[in-house]
Symmetry: C2
Subunit: 211 residues, 2 copies
Amino acid sequence: MNIHSIETTAILTDSGNKRVHIIDATIKLISEYGFHGTPISMIAQEAGVGAGTIYRYFKDKDTLVLEIFKQVNGDFKKTLLHEYDADQPIRDRFLHLCRGIFQYGMKNPYEFKFIEQFYNSPYGTTLRRDNIFCNCGDTGQDLPLEQVFAAGQAQQLIKELPLAALIALAIGPIVFLVKDSIAGLIQLDEATVNATLAACWDAVCQMPANK
Amino acid sequence: MNIHSIETTAILTDSGNKRVHIIDATIKLISEYGFHGTPISMIAQEAGVGAGTIYRYFKDKDTLVLEIFKQVNGDFKKTLLHEYDADQPIRDRFLHLCRGIFQYGMKNPYEFKFIEQFYNSPYGTTLRRDNIFCNCGDTGQDLPLEQVFAAGQAQQLIKELPLAALIALAIGPIVFLVKDSIAGLIQLDEATVNATLAACWDAVCQMPANK
DNA sequence: ACAGGCGGAATGAACATTCACTCCATAGAA
DNA sequence: TTCTATGGAGTGAATGTTCATTCCGCCTGT
């Protein structure tokens, strides 16, 4: 019975893992080859399951990817808010969020590239457009970065630029750098990262005396 | 004979256009749907030619895309150097190049996204890695942005950051903004563009008194 | 014994590439 | 000038492959 219960647990665990394996494999492969570039058969092999098994967990390939996106994107946003303190000064909040994006990308390269891929796909673009024009987004608010910028502009700390431009100045370099780092094109030490994040602040900051 | 020569010219012209039509269609469709997302049949239809005709001009799909990339990427670099004056001050050169990238993207959205797609594909990543590790690139030097940064650092005008970080700070926001603009997510007026480019300078600039 | 999860062969659709054919401008014969 | 032969561009149906999805036995836990 002892052995038996262990076996049962192991099996249940493994059974529960099957879905996870499929998801992990999908994230990894799609982040590298894109949606149309990764066949179900490849996902099945990477996950160590039969192709048919995938359809026990997900209706079809589209659903698989969409569900994964929702989950990963949600986790990502949650991660960003970890230890985030809305009472800190603007600059600290800004750096905390930017660093969060960077660290998430470095720790979760597949998820990071997966999100990127999705946002740049026709589906992702449509989703973003809908979120902007009718603000009835299912996930609610967007990045708290918006709030930081709004508060910063009220204090005349942040440049008077459209929100989209500020976001581009803050996130653009980070995405760029993380992608190059993931691709193995560069190697970043912590000092460089800190200096680069500070430079992002310089970009959005109003005052010359910004340190 | 008059009529005859006109006909001949027209035919030659149209024949010459066929290759161009194929290339244009490929850029447009791949920029939107990606390599694996655009079948040859779709390219043929968009180009107004038979599917077989494409293979009269290009060996296969890979070759088609690779040749287009070389051409488009070359045109892009050439465009950047248009009216570029290496004797101008560092900041002016920096802004000229950044503005060039931005304007190219706005004028050639399909080409811009096509280049992006390519660089983010496994093939493009490999190509960039090879270009970095053995500097025997076929196209020779990279963006003159590198030279601007090197010269700027010598004058203590530019932050002491690795080249990759500086490039990310300069180009990241522009790529980000152009993509959003192409997707119709934002509308940019010239004042905003100028202010954003100036902000990119703030990011890479050493001195607080940067204007 | 049996219900249900599972793998992977089976299926039909979609794809990249090929090929046999059409069409037409030109060259040369009459 | 007119007729005909020729070659090469252009086509799209045919081919073989790969894909997403389905289906059917097997195997395992109960």
